[in-house]
Symmetry: D2
Subunit: 278 residues, 4 copies
Amino acid sequence: MVILIQSTDQVGLVAAISSVLAKQGWNIISLREYVDPSTTRFFIRIETSGQVNDAEALLLQRELSGILPATATVQVNPIALKKIVVMVTKEHHCLSDLLVRHHFKELGASIQCVIGNHPDLEDLCQRFDVPFYAVAAEGKDKAGFEAGITSIIDQYQPDFIVLAKFMRILSAAFNAKYPLKIINIHHSFLPAFIGANPYKQAFERGVKLIGATAHFVTDDLDEGPIIFQEIIPVNHTYNAQKMRQAGKEIEMAVLARALQLVFDDRVFVFRNKTVVFD
Amino acid sequence: MVILIQSTDQVGLVAAISSVLAKQGWNIISLREYVDPSTTRFFIRIETSGQVNDAEALLLQRELSGILPATATVQVNPIALKKIVVMVTKEHHCLSDLLVRHHFKELGASIQCVIGNHPDLEDLCQRFDVPFYAVAAEGKDKAGFEAGITSIIDQYQPDFIVLAKFMRILSAAFNAKYPLKIINIHHSFLPAFIGANPYKQAFERGVKLIGATAHFVTDDLDEGPIIFQEIIPVNHTYNAQKMRQAGKEIEMAVLARALQLVFDDRVFVFRNKTVVFD
Amino acid sequence: MVILIQSTDQVGLVAAISSVLAKQGWNIISLREYVDPSTTRFFIRIETSGQVNDAEALLLQRELSGILPATATVQVNPIALKKIVVMVTKEHHCLSDLLVRHHFKELGASIQCVIGNHPDLEDLCQRFDVPFYAVAAEGKDKAGFEAGITSIIDQYQPDFIVLAKFMRILSAAFNAKYPLKIINIHHSFLPAFIGANPYKQAFERGVKLIGATAHFVTDDLDEGPIIFQEIIPVNHTYNAQKMRQAGKEIEMAVLARALQLVFDDRVFVFRNKTVVFD
Amino acid sequence: MVILIQSTDQVGLVAAISSVLAKQGWNIISLREYVDPSTTRFFIRIETSGQVNDAEALLLQRELSGILPATATVQVNPIALKKIVVMVTKEHHCLSDLLVRHHFKELGASIQCVIGNHPDLEDLCQRFDVPFYAVAAEGKDKAGFEAGITSIIDQYQPDFIVLAKFMRILSAAFNAKYPLKIINIHHSFLPAFIGANPYKQAFERGVKLIGATAHFVTDDLDEGPIIFQEIIPVNHTYNAQKMRQAGKEIEMAVLARALQLVFDDRVFVFRNKTVVFD
């Protein structure tokens, strides 16, 4: 199992937590702890040998919460596939990568379904036997559109919702319904070139790198806690279209890496930042 | 020698240029040509075996100009060290790297002198027997300050002026005096985090990468044609100070790489962008 | 079109070649030329605006050959998809990547068919409507096994044969039948850890990097001209199995990049090395 | 302070160790623990707020040893500069980097002296006011040569000996005298191209990457536990000399990174491998 705890810091937290585990005979095979000096927030990730069922996890979660400050949050996660819902529009590159990894059981998650605001990617999902739901935005107000989406999501009770090039902006209400459960891949190395058509902006500026950012979605689509970022070099031969293609490659790679970190229980969020024990 | 030509494009330019060279018996050992589709601007870099003196270079330059469109610019560069002046403030990291490479004849350029608006780095220059001039900004207006600098620069007639963490903004008049001769290393991955204290901004945003940009200086300090950019990964354990240290490492590396490209005659500028034949 | 020429070097080759093109009104939009100093071998890649049909290409190819040394080889390639056959065993990662890119017309090549010495990947090919042929090695001698393969390949007359984790060693006779047409992805950063079970070797040595190499196949499976290599960092938490998974990621990325270079006509081979105009 | 412990694993070690610290009021601000599954070896690195003097460190070291298995090794390190001796031959690039960082107090270590088997780098050391000792190998047997070196080293009692392009092979006796204290930068991405003139080998093989390896020296010069490795891309334009220059850049970068890890107490050695908590 993996245990994730964050809390206000005080002397003795590691001893208190590890003593509970030692008394129950759990062997810690990997542990990372960090106290952020600017906020004095304590973060710990503990991986033990041995496995728990859900009832045992709940019991242990309660026991650990009992010895920790009231500000602490405690997760006890059995080693298990996360359940995810993927949302897309028309671009296939991130979805293709997820579907292939899922098909060969290399994703670390189980894709419950894919929701698209356009039907373009239905065919791809069918090829991998994954349910696809088309929810058109046209002809509805935003509340109606999002109600259509949430009614599908809520059937599946996913651990995470992955925006794999979902190109519509979701409302604050939608985002608030799934706090720290929505992961987005952003078509730029934030905070550069925020807004429409970043590759045209990048081309006109003559940049030598373009990047991508995977982040949790909070109330502002492009401003949530960053999980992972990476870049790819470009040069003068890249027009806006070729930059877009390079952008797809790096988006696919960044999203894959960020999801692996999240599915492995390696990412904490506190305020607007992440702590990643990679 | 290395020949650099840019021009409006037309059919037959490569044939015309290479025929001139063939007739004179020059062997082309490396050639790169590119036509930018958005501007139909033609760029060519030709490296020949054999060497020329200055008089021969001038002759060849005139002959090539004669067969090319009036919009063409032609450089014929003997293989020779570039002459540079380096400008600094207090941070040593870029200057140290340049001085070491220069000392061991690995820079591809000859440092004529170093000009600092603070005296902090004089000691370092003395250790490597390179002349250092302190020109204080205090107690003068900008015109007076810059006059002090240009009077030193103009003694040396450098090919390039390298702003190696020179932390004062130079006037448009200064920049216009040395067109496409001033190279700056910028403390960020442009266009992100423009302005003061980028590392504090980066820390507060929780980024996972920081970068640096080397660019020619035009009339706006941070907006000239980009020569090279690179990034370095950071994580949650980096506070603003540790980010600054990582920033120094990447600034040093990016400036070194950009200068190598420029000193090897691999960089063209057209409008606000570069073409780099690396 | 793209023109690829290699030849013994002499003064005037660029002028001769570009004059032929200029007379016919072809505009050169990108050109790279290089003379290898250790062999004085001349390499040139020319990209023109405009397109040719096969008959025109043949005519131009003959005209260029006529003005060049007898040692020259000349290719005139219309901009067109390459035809490829992919050979696999059981591992899907490289094939999945190729099939997805092919399906969305991003591969730069047309996959004619997939040949597997095990049937495992037939299902994947069917999902993407690509013909799959199972050719078992069991119960045949090598000549018989390879005859089964070549009879399929020769139906399709592919430009290239891609060994996408094909885990059997092909005979010198097979390789000689398709000179410089077979591309392999090798499970290591050559020349390190040649031989069986490289990830176990890498684990036992405690390396901090593992790599992959894409190369043309000549008479020795792991020793042909290298097209592209890249590495991925690993650390002490990687056991042999996790190294193998990281190896798959880098193999997939390296093969994709190498094929893009080959399909874009950017790779020359001379003796045991490549010249890559990337 | 930083505490480094390794031991055979058993349930309760983290609890036992952290309880000792909690009782004494130490706050753990960063902790990493790992149990290697193939050897069941336990590794832990603990960073606390607050500082200790040498006497307090010794006391705590004894107290921790008392509660741990007899196989455990315990280090309690006050936050302090490491003392190092640097050994060189003729190449300056690694030494220059170390001297600059040392001069500006960015190395994390104090260079006690430099020992060269040639006098070439004495001038450089003098420029940075660092003692240099020339110990010629000529005219002595190996034992005599090494006795000259050890007599200098032992005056300084360094924590580490850095072979910064020291090009002579040291005897097993020499290495055994300084167990896990000697760090070498190797001119290759081990295990590729072991032996003389690796860059010529790399050139002839036509590789697209070259690398460097920093490792502890055990009884075999090139085979000790690897601390860090990195590569740099090369291409067909790199002859053996240009590969050597690229090799210098990556050697310098790899050694700097490895030393930073060692000086920050982030590297464990067990048998022939390292565990690096970077």
